[in-house]
């Protein structure tokens, strides 16, 4: 027995030794191959040539005297301007966006990652936004296939409370009216290209008009589907206008309402049972399946998040959706969108028109919501304060807060916040439906 064990041990040792020797031989061969390869590609150079070569590879040289063969992230030729001054301008623009996000508090959660992504995307030579750069990898991982906006929608769903809508269902109409901003702008955009100012295709016009839905993830979803070349401008317009809701909306709201209307007090919201809240997401999804399956990616994700929340039995998943997941995806989404702020894609005349059309879309949506509330007040029933109509543009919960704030300016005891949340969340559903319509039209 002892002999047998010894023999086994010896055998193992022998085996190990041969294996090791083999490995060493391989290793030696590999090193040799590497060194010959190195000798082939590396020639000794005098020091001045080395310094000259290094200077040519600096960012200063690349900006002043760009490489004529350099291609953009899509592998196309770029103009001289986009490679040199365009990049400088874009980098300065991202600094301005930093200032807006940090000093002015404009949606910093998204604007900062977007702006930093833009800064990285405009670095010459490094090609960070290219196919193999990390921004390019992020873009291809979740933006070009529309994954990130969907994940964001799950998180938003988990954060949304449909209670106010359920207790006053008719306010959903306000969320519908605000979508007029989308389609009104669509007409505006095609009119502009018909008159020859710009050359937007119907797809591009649709992607721009969705800014009026005031819903960041939906805008990104539609832009990547219909007009990926405009994604950077659309996303920046969408998020910066969403951040400016407290500035854009109040003048429009005040212009369209009378003093008496602004002081209308709405009846207290009734209590909504847990069962109602639990059934609601499934009901909306079933309706979406029946009416417009094209909208179900967005609505499905939204309702999934909400269902997890309302079920009350998966607190851990709900918590992850609301916090960890949405935070991680926000970082990736922002950087990925930022990669589209490369000079050759952003510094084009189209961007100016997109910015202009975007703010028109926002204003028209706000006005339509307010006017819809006034129309609804012509019918018998509980009166609606028209100020909550503006909350029909999705921008949750910013738009609802604006309604509340303007209402309080005229009557300090008039709490409109919860009433405005109804049209606000209906606006999210409405813009997802509008997005579904636009997608289905181009199938």
């Amino acid at each position: 027995m002892k002999f047998f064990v010894l023999k086994l041990l010896a055998l193992m040792l022998f085996g190990f030794a041969t294996l090791h020797a083999n490995a060493e031989v391989h290793h030696a061969e590999a090193t040799e191959a590497l060194s010959t390869h190195k000798e082939e590609s590396y020639h000794t150079k005098p020091l001045d040539e080395m310094i000259g070569g290094f200077l040519k590879s600096t960012g200063v040289s690349a900006l002043i005297n760009p490489d004529p063969d350099e291609l953009n992230a899509q592998g196309e030729q770029m103009s001289e301007f986009h490679k040199s001054w365009g990049r400088v301008i874009m980098i300065l623009l991202t600094f301005f966006l930093f200032w807006l996000a940090i000093k002015k508090g404009f949606e910093p959660l998204l604007l900062l990652p977007i702006a930093f992504g833009g800064l990285l995307a405009n670095i010459p030579v490094a090609g960070i936004a290219g196919e193999h750069g990390f921004l390019g990898v992020i873009y291809n991982m979740g933006l070009s296939n529309e994954l990130f906006p969907i994940l964001i929608f799950m998180g938003v769903g988990a954060m949304t409370d449909f209670g106010p809508l359920l207790s006053n269902p008719k306010t959903a109409l306000l969320g519908g009216a605000a979508q007029f901003g989308i389609f009104g702008t669509l007409v505006g955009a095609v009119a502009l290209s018909q008159m020859g100012f710009v050359d937007f295709t119907l797809q591009q016009a649709s992607a721009i008009s969705i800014i009026g839905g005031a819903d960041g993830p939906t805008s990104i979803f539609i832009a990547t589907k219909l007009a990926p070349e405009l994604l950077g401008a659309i996303a920046v317009a969408s998020y910066s206008y969403m951040a400016m809701v407290p500035i854009i909306q109040p003048p429009i709201m005040k212009a369209l309402t009378t003093d008496a209307e602004r002081k209308i007090k709405m009846t207290t919201l009734r209590h909504v049972s847990r069962l109602e809240k639990l059934i609601f997401p499934i009901m909306v999804l079933v309706l979406a399946i029946l009416v417009l399956p094209e909208s179900t990616p967005l609505i499905g994700a939204f309702m999934f998040g909400n269902f997890l929340k309302e079920s009350g039995v998966v607190e851990r998943l709900n918590d992850t959706l609301q916090n960890a997941l949405i935070n991680i995806v926000t970082i990736f989404l922002g950087l990925g969108v930022g990669s589209k702020l490369a000079a050759d894609q952003f510094l084009v005349p189209d961007t100016m028109f997109i910015m202009a059309l975007g703010i028109i879309a926002f204003s028209v949506g706000t006005a339509a919501g307010v006017l819809m509330a006034k129309i609804m007040n012509l019918f018998p029933g509980n009166k609606i304060n028209p100020l909550i109509g503006s909350a029909g543009v999705s921008a949750v919960p910013m738009a609802a807060r604006v309604s509340n704030k303007v209402g309080m300016e005229y009557d300090r005891s008039n709490m409109l916040l919860m009433h405005a949340m109804g049209p606000n969340v209906a606006g999210v559903i409405g813009s997802a439906v509008a997005a579904g319509v636009l997608i289905s039209l181009f199938q």
């Binding site: 809508l165 359920l166 269902p169 008719k170 959903a172 109409l173 969320g175 519908g176 979508q179 007029f180 989308i182 389609f183 009104g184 669509l186 007409v187 955009a189 095609v190 009119a191 290209s193 018909q194 119907l202 016009a205 649709s206 209590h271 909504v272 049972s273 069962l275 109602e276 059934i279 609601f280 009901m283 909306v284 309706l287 979406a288 009416v291 417009l292 300090r412 005891s413 709490m415 209906a426 559903i429 409405g430 439906v433 509008a434 579904g436 319509v437 636009l438 039209l441």
Partner: protein, 76 residues
Amino acid sequence: METNLIAEGFKFMALGMGTVFLFLIILIVCMNAMSAILHKYFPEPQPGVTPDVASKQDNKKIIAAITAAIAHHRQA
């Protein structure tokens, strides 16, 4: 391009707004129907039936009272 893009845009608008409103109107009808059915066949357990639910609702009432008090204080 000889197609009238503006006319095309208006067609999109009619269809789009139509669908959005149709969807939301059906949704409103369903919401009302659902709450009616639930209130009739599955009424919420009354406070006091089970001590657990009662305490939760009492908590909510207390929270509501505190919120109202804060709001009142802020206005003053």
